[in-house]
């Protein structure tokens, strides 16, 4: 039953026009960034590297695909949650608004399985979005701008990573970035279980992300102890893979915190949906 309904959920996601907004917007954003880089990219980074390129040996063009992929990820990781929530925030509440939740909930499938199948479908949608992002950022960008060594600004200042030392870092980054986006998906599914329309959960998801991000960036001691528990703090954890050396302890901590978030959020959604009187 779980698999059958997950399959149903895919059919619905594929048929809904809004599912393509995310892919379209992502593509458009990246094209804009690429256009900007192509047109005026060297001036964009020259101020960073002005004092720098005489002192270190650097292979190839600085403004290469590896660097631009990093810039793209950094710029977009704050916007992609909206694209995720647009689809996942609608999964339960959209059916309540449309009235189909009535039909669904009078079928022999349990309510827990309804929520879980929506979670799985949302997870796959988020994965597709992440893979599309990875494809554009790594394959297309490298094809347009070539590859080479990569300069990054990390916690120890400007660092040059060797060309051969980069690809695996991206691979791991995308896995952690996916986990962060999955948390956004679970959050909006959870909010979706409480709502009767899809605007509410989408806006609240973004509201929570903005609020948590602000709390995370405020340098106030009262917030210091909770920062680590905000999932938004870990949305930037993909960058840890561009440190040298990499702190695996921090990364595992982020991964654990994100996984716990997912489990808790989905559990809340399951409990709420099971208790809910369906009156739409």
């Amino acid at each position: 039953m779980l698999l059958k309904n997950t399959y149903n959920e895919f059919i619905k996601i594929i048929a809904k026009p809004r599912s393509y907004i995310g892919l379209g917007v992502l593509t458009a954003l990246i094209l804009v960034i690429l256009f900007a880089m192509k047109a005026d990219g060297s001036s964009y980074i020259s101020f960073v590297t002005a004092s720098f390129d005489q002192t270190l040996s650097f292979n190839g063009n600085i403004l290469n695909g590896n660097l631009i992929a990093f810039i793209i990820l950094q710029m977009l990781i704050v916007h992609i949650p909206l694209l995720v929530a647009l689809v996942t925030g609608d999964l339960i509440s959209g059916e309540a608004a449309m009235g189909t939740i009535r039909m669904l909930a009078t079928k022999p499938i349990s309510r827990t399985k309804i929520v879980l199948s929506k979670f799985i479908a949302g997870a796959v949608y988020t994965l597709i979005l992440t893979i599309w992002l990875a494809f554009l950022a790594l394959v297309v960008v490298k094809w347009m701008f070539g590859t080479g060594d990569m300069i990054v600004l990390n916690s120890s200042g400007l660092v040059i990573l060797q060309e051969a030392d980069i690809f695996w870092r991206y691979g791991c980054s995308f896995i952690v970035a996916y986990l962060a986006l999955l948390t956004v998906s679970s959050l909006s599914i959870c909010l979706s279980a409480f709502a009767e329309n899809s605007i509410g959960p989408i806006v609240s998801t973004m509201g929570i992300i903005i609020l948590f991000t602000i709390i995370g960036s405020l340098d106030v001691t009262v917030f210091d102890s909770i920062k680590i528990f905000l999932f938004t703090t870990h949305m930037a954890s993909w960058r840890s893979f561009f440190e040298d050396p990499i702190s695996m302890k921090d990364i595992w901590q982020s991964i654990s915190i994100l996984i716990v978030h997912n489990i808790v959020l989905v559990s809340i959604a399951v409990i709420k949906f099971n208790k809910k009187d369906i009156t739409s």
Partner: protein, 303 residues
Amino acid sequence: MNEPIIEVNHLSKKFGNFEAVKDVSFTVNKGDVFGFLGPNGAGKSTTIRCLLSLISPNAGSIAIFGKQLASHRSEILNNIGCIIEKPDFYRYLSAEKNLEIFARISGSDSSKKDIQEMLEFVGLDGRGKDKVKGFSHGMKQRLGIAQTLLHKPDLIILDEPTTGLDPQGIIEVRNLILRLKTEQNKTVVLSSHQLSEIEIIANRMVIINKGKSVIEGSVEALVNEQELLLQIELSDPENAIKLIEMEYPALIVKHLYGSTIEIALDKEMVPKINYLLVNKGFEIHSLEPKRKLEDFFMKIIQE
């Protein structure tokens, strides 16, 4: 043999402080077309939502197919097809895809052929590939019925299936329901706010009002075997009353208004009274039987 399919006892459901269903009890037997009659807001949909586990009652018990709903939910729902309030579908999917989706999580699997046959049965053949977005209310209602039947359930629950349809659509849906009983021997529960509708299709019924079941029984017993109130508009009502009271002292005759009198009597008495009056030279302008149940139901509605 009366095999109970649905047994509801002292059901109650509150929304916040408002008690939408206070005390509803009734029994539906196998093979019944069971009418669930009550004015708008009586608590029909709320009761039906409880039967389908969409909402959980605050008190009372529900057994379906001889099993408690709370502990055998999936098993019971396997064997039920239903429409609550109005049928809603995924607007962005075709009629066929919608049926496929619901069939996949219903009691039994359906092939593409089953779906085509079902679309034909409800008169939607040729429209299966069209998106539901463009369907009229009547078409959705018929697609809804297709959805309730696809997995071949024994029990079908329809909440006001003819509301909002045009006269042609009402007749079509009623005929469909009658065919379910005669051709497929299903048990059907249908709610309505119109006594006339229940009279036409149901064999047993319960009337509910303000969240309480008021009266339950066979439609025939409740409707036909009830005493009639015969209203006669005629010349010289005073003398007509005297004549009737002399001839049939057991009857109670009232002067209703103007030249109209009212007599409470059994159905068989109608031709006798008519003959008597015509024979004695009274001019009869109209003769209208009003059933007490209708009166009773009207009173309930107007309360």
